[in-house]
Point group: C2
Chain length 139, copies 2
Amino acid sequence: MERFREIGLKLTPQRMAILEYLDGNTTHPSAEDIYQHVRKRFPMISFATVYNTLEALRKRGLILELTIDPERKRYDPNIHPHHHLICLKCKSVVDVELDFNITVPEELKGRFEILGNHIEFYGLCEKCSEKGGESDGSV
Amino acid sequence: MERFREIGLKLTPQRMAILEYLDGNTTHPSAEDIYQHVRKRFPMISFATVYNTLEALRKRGLILELTIDPERKRYDPNIHPHHHLICLKCKSVVDVELDFNITVPEELKGRFEILGNHIEFYGLCEKCSEKGGESDGSV
DNA sequence: ACGTTCCATGATAATTATTCTCATTTTTAT
DNA sequence: ATAAAAATGAGAATAATTATCATGGAACGT
Ligand SMILES: [Mn+2]
Ligand SMILES: [Mn+2]
Ligand SMILES: [Zn+2]
Ligand SMILES: [Zn+2]
């Protein structure tokens, strides 16, 4: 929490509230989620500040911006390489902290400088699986 | 091309043009890309028709809607399970038709009904890798 | 504590992708 | 040819995100 100053980020109450909400959060919240939660304790915060803060954190590599949900961006304070499950019905995103040992053939590496990979598993979470899970078929 | 009628899709000139453009296309075009290309031979086509057609095809499982590009949805007529590379700089998307043999532990399967998976590799394509590839760090 | 500099905030407008509405036209089956 | 059903397209509407910019507040050196 203190090291934000060190990376050239001013520590404001708004940012502290956002950081506090993100710290250890595994729900992969959207900007809207973050806004709504922070707003409870900080009613005057603006949406712009949420986006500004998220962008500042992302640029410094302190959070990840996930493109796993077709509707909106989701943010992840867990910056260690890991994978995700997304429920096609309720859109919940769950961490998969497993090493799948993805190795690509040299032939491919020659044509593309691979910097990383991310597996998205899609399916139905426990809750949605029970009561007849109808998804919309998107990937 | 004929089997569209069989699935309850009326065959219009607009749709034929879109289908023709998509057939065998491996560029993973966006709706905008499709619109611009089809427009050349079919100037009066509307954006709504492009979206309508894509949605109709998607609902019937004839194309995939990819969420790999943070900016926009990309469409893929190749519906066989496969993976993708995305260039962080020029956003080009390339197929990876390899089987990586992803097996998830039973423990996880118990808590989530996994219907499929998709690996996205990110990095720099040959063209962008040459001339000092600066990405924006998004995942 | 004070002052200065620079960055952050937030109200609001703008942009962009996508979806919706609905009157009109076209396809397809009879 | 006719009629029913579905598709088209112009445009409005929605939703997520980004941009503007005047004002306020942190940081830091004094
Ligand atoms: Mn995660
Ligand atoms: Mn593909
Ligand atoms: Zn669910
Ligand atoms: Zn590239």
